[in-house]
């Protein structure tokens, strides 16, 4: 407490001392409701980087008073508390006495109202203002906007800003512009070549554009720039291909995740479960409910933990509902695949409508922080974390499923029961229990898939329908009841879809995939991995 007081005192004295400065006076006018318009005009005219943070806060409508000091909010921490940055005279993160960032709820801050008209005064200096924005994305945008600038003072400003730059992406974007401007202004051939090299080496977003523009000019080393530009383009195309493959992998993983449960239920139990997609929906809604329950009913602040615990819970909930379905409906339909298709279709109608009346409409789940954004493998190759997570999850689940089915007693029982129910019973297996368990497991897998799907899309009652036909195709193409087949065909269809999408539009890609599968079935009518030898005959 004492320390706090002293700190406050020190801060206050600093502010009081600086108040003699006219800039400080304007700032204080802005903060304390007098002559705001005039003060802002003055600050804009001065173009003093020291005030940029403050002006930025005005522009972003994030200017607050905290302990009588101008502050703005930074990173959000939890549901309602933020990091706080002081704005003037110093722009820095406020810390508490332990040196930890200070977190404050938004209610503890007093909003400084600036009218829209006043905010519009900033338009003139916005480009350079944003150079000093605390958000890297805005800085990047600001660098971009200086592209066509030839005003020397702006270049200086750019250099100043780059000197302070900490974010690598923003730094690259800034350098991109700087080198480009310098390249275009220089008259010396060797210097030009050096800048060309720097541009290419830096490889910002605009580098190919600048280089090819330069290549069109009659300036020295124009051809050289052209070569560099096309080499960058080639590199970029190559990265695009990698990105495409990654997209295919991620789509394939999703398909596998859905098809796996389907394959177990359908391939091994002879049930075409048209309601499988609805278990996916149930898994997604479970995730949603857990989040709502904790954050809105129990008022616990949101943490990423909620998503982690929803994973097993969505397995459980979807599985239990699957169990219920098995008891009520599917039990009567073993070994009648076509009837099971129709009955479960009816069930899926009911489930969708139930979800609709329970949850009403479009909902979505908050993506955990550790899964937002992406892994920047190289400047132009960003692999989103949520997709990486899904790929990893799929791999893990495939592994667990494999172990469960082929290395445990229950797996053996499942395989036995699904191939010959009566004989398994005669061998002493409780077939009802095993069948129910199979269905539980299959539906549970769909539930996990649903939980994972919340990372990508929204949660809607008919979300299950989106992928269901594709997943059936995966199962059929892979060969019924074969995990390996499901994996290979899931990945195959994922890759092919993405590759074809690069050439055609999504729809035509899909039609092509289907034609391809039909042709494929011409010589592999029982899927990729049919059973061989005597087993094949029936």
């Amino acid at each position: 407490m004492k320390n706090m007081l002293i700190a406050a005192l020190v801060l206050w004295t600093q502010w009081a001392m600086a108040a003699t400065d006219s800039t400080t006076i304007f700032v204080s006018q802005i903060l304390h409701d007098s002559e705001k318009t005039y003060a802002i005009q003055q600050l804009v005219a001065r173009q003093d980087p020291q005030t940029f943070a403050l002006l930025n806060a005005i522009n972003n409508k994030k200017l607050y008073l905290f302990n009588n000091e101008a502050v703005t909010t930074g990173e959000k921490n939890g549901t309602s508390s933020y990091e706080i940055y002081s704005l003037y005279p110093k722009n820095e993160l406020l810390v508490n006495k332990n040196g930890q960032p200070l977190h404050t709820s938004i209610d503890a801050l007093t909003v400084v109202e600036i009218s829209r008209a006043d905010r519009l005064l900033l338009n003139g200096i916005l480009p350079i203002l944003e150079l000093f924005s605390p958000e890297p994305a805005k800085r990047m945008l600001a660098y971009g906007q200086l592209k066509d600038s030839h005003a020397p003072h702006r270049i200086e400003m750019l250099q100043v800003a780059l000197a302070r730059e900490t974010n690598t992406d923003a730094l690259r974007a800034g350098k991109d512009i700087l080198y480009a401007i310098q390249l275009n202004t220089t008259t010396d051939a060797q210097t030009a070549k050096r800048y060309i090299d720097s541009l290419a080496e830096n490889w910002g977003d605009n580098a190919p554009v600048f280089l090819s523009a330069y290549a069109k000019s009659k300036k020295p080393f124009a051809d050289y720039a052209g070569q560099k530009a096309s080499s960058l383009e080639r590199k970029y195309d190559y990265l695009q291909k990698v990105q495409n493959l990654f997209s295919g992998l991620s789509l394939g993983s999703i398909l596998i995740l859905i098809a796996l449960g389907l394959s177990i239920v359908y391939g091994l139990a002879g049930i075409i479960n048209m309601a499988h997609g609805e278990f996916l929906m149930i898994g997604a809604y479970t995730t949603y409910c857990i989040q709502t329950l904790f954050t809105e009913v129990l008022k616990v602040p949101y943490t990423d933990l909620l998503f982690i615990i929803s994973l097993p819970l969505s397995f459980l909930v979807a599985g239990l509902l699957g169990l219920l379905l098995e008891r009520l409906v599917v039990r009567h339909l073993y070994a009648r695949p076509l009837e099971s298709l129709l009955a479960t279709w009816g069930v899926s109608l009911i489930l969708i409508q139930t979800a609709r009346s329970l949850f009403g409409d479009l909902t979505a789940v908050k993506t955990p922080a550790f899964l937002s954004g992406g892994l920047a493998v190289s400047p132009h190759l960003v692999l989103p974390y949520n997709r990486i997570f899904i790929i990893g999850l799929t791999a893990l689940i495939v592994l667990l499923t494999y172990l469960m089915l082929y290395k445990t007693r229950i797996g053996l029982q499942i395989r036995a029961v699904t191939q010959n129910r009566n004989m398994s019973a005669c061998l002493g297996i409780d077939t009802k229990k095993v069948a129910a368990l199979t269905f539980f497991f299959g539906s549970g897998l769909a539930g996990i898939a649903g939980c994972a799907m919340t990372l990508i899309g929204n949660v809607v009652p008919d979300m299950g329908q989106t992928y269901i036909v594709d997943s059936f195709l995966v199962v059929v193409t892979g060969g019924v009841g074969k995990i390996v087949g499901t994996i290979v065909s899931g990945l195959g269809i994922g890759f092919f879809t993405k590759i074809l999408e690069a050439f055609f539009q999504a729809v035509y890609g899909k039609v092509c995939i289907l034609l391809f599968i039909m042709l494929f079935m011409q010589y592999k009518p029982k899927g990729l991995f049919p059973y061989k030898g005597r087993l094949a005959e029936d």
């Binding site: 009837e339 409508q353 059929v476 029982k526």
Partner: protein
């Protein structure tokens, strides 16, 4: 003999009594058109019963063939309605001249021929590819379902030149007769009824001929049929084409009575629903297919008005319960109720 009387009564009721009721002012034209549309569905359902009920091939793309018929006739009507101008949707789609595949549909005769030929031809090609590689059972169901999905997506695209999601709508005349005219509606209704009767009779003949027995034999044991020197593929193909034809005929009558045809009629759901009619009515029995199509659609119409919030539950439970407990459908259920129980082993 008694049986025949009821068929005659059925026809008499719908062919005479209902129109008469309309002329007397008891039955609105809307009800008449409604039943006319149900008859179109029933025609398609007969096809499904042939291929699924009798031959045991679950085809989940019948709605696609249904729509091909509908689209054909709709294209013709739309061209007649818009006269020399381009159909409206092409205008906002930035299409400047009539696409080549629209041109033949300017003639009614050609339209009729194409509406029948295109679905049969497609069914032939699809059937040839699928049956050649001996895809059957669940594989057949899934692949045809995926096919329906792909076609649906294709028809949804505006580039396809068939009106995209909006489909084709706002037809005014057929053969120069205004579609809004009550008597034209009545005529279409009677036409549908007539064709339903013809289709029923034809299917009856087919299923009671040796051809029909071969179909059932294929359902029971395909390999035995081959070893008995029948070309299984020919038979399957024939019945697949016949089913597609029936669906297309149903579709052709459907479009003018409904006034719109959209890809929504051919999505995955639509095909499964069509199969559902037959399942609910009683697969493997022609009257089951007709009964299923008529009753389910009737329930759909009634329930969406009477119980707008809960009809899906009602129909959903009906589906599930029928499939679970009355696997022979309405007809089977009534057989059980009315006939003395006999060994079913």
């Amino acid at each position: 003999m008694e049986k025949k009387i009821y068929y005659l009564l059925f026809i008499a009721f719908f062919a005479l009594l209902l129109p008469a009721g309309h002329l007397m002012g008891w039955v609105s034209i809307n009800t008449i058109s409604l039943w006319g549309r149900y008859f179109c569905f029933a025609i398609a359902a007969l096809g499904i019963d042939l291929i699924w009920g009798y031959t045991g091939i679950l085809s989940m793309c019948q709605a696609f063939f249904f729509c091909l018929g509908s689209y054909g006739i709709a294209m013709h009507m739309l061209l007649k309605t818009s006269g020399s101008a381009l159909p409206e949707f092409m205008v906002w789609n930035k299409v400047e001249s009539l696409p080549f595949f629209w041109v033949p549909f300017q003639s009614f005769g050609l339209t009729l021929v194409l509406c029948l030929v295109i679905p049969s031809l497609l069914a032939f090609v699809i059937g040839y590819v699928l049956f050649r590689s001996r895809i059957k059972g669940v594989y057949m169901a899934i692949i045809t379902q995926a096919l329906a999905l792909a076609m649906w997506l294709l028809f949804l695209r505006n580039e396809t030149g068939l009106g995209g999601t909006n489909g084709l709508t706002d037809f005014k005349t057929l053969l120069g007769l205004p579609l809004s005219n009550t008597y034209v509606k009545l005529g279409l209704y009677l036409m549908s009824l007539l064709l339903l009767c013809v289709a029923y009779f034809a299917c009856y003949q087919i299923t009671h001929s040796k051809f029909g027995k071969v179909l059932q034999a294929i359902r029971d044991s395909e390999s035995r049929v081959s070893f008995t020197a029948y070309k299984v593929m020919d038979y399957k193909l024939a019945v697949f084409v016949v089913a597609a034809l029936l669906a297309a005929i149903g579709g052709m009558l459907y479009a003018p009575q409904t006034g719109i045809i959209t890809p929504g009629r051919m999505d995955v759901k639509a095909s499964v629903e069509m199969v559902m009619w037959v399942a609910l009515g009683g697969r493997g029995k022609l009257k089951g297919a007709v009964a299923g199509a008529l009753l389910v659609n009737f329930l759909y119409s009634i329930c969406t008005s009477l119980f707008p919030d809960s009809w899906l539950y009602i129909l959903g439970f009906l589906f599930v319960i029928t499939v679970l407990f009355f696997d022979k459908g309405f007809v089977g259920l009534m057989d059980n109720l009315t006939k003395r129980k006999e060994p079913c082993y």
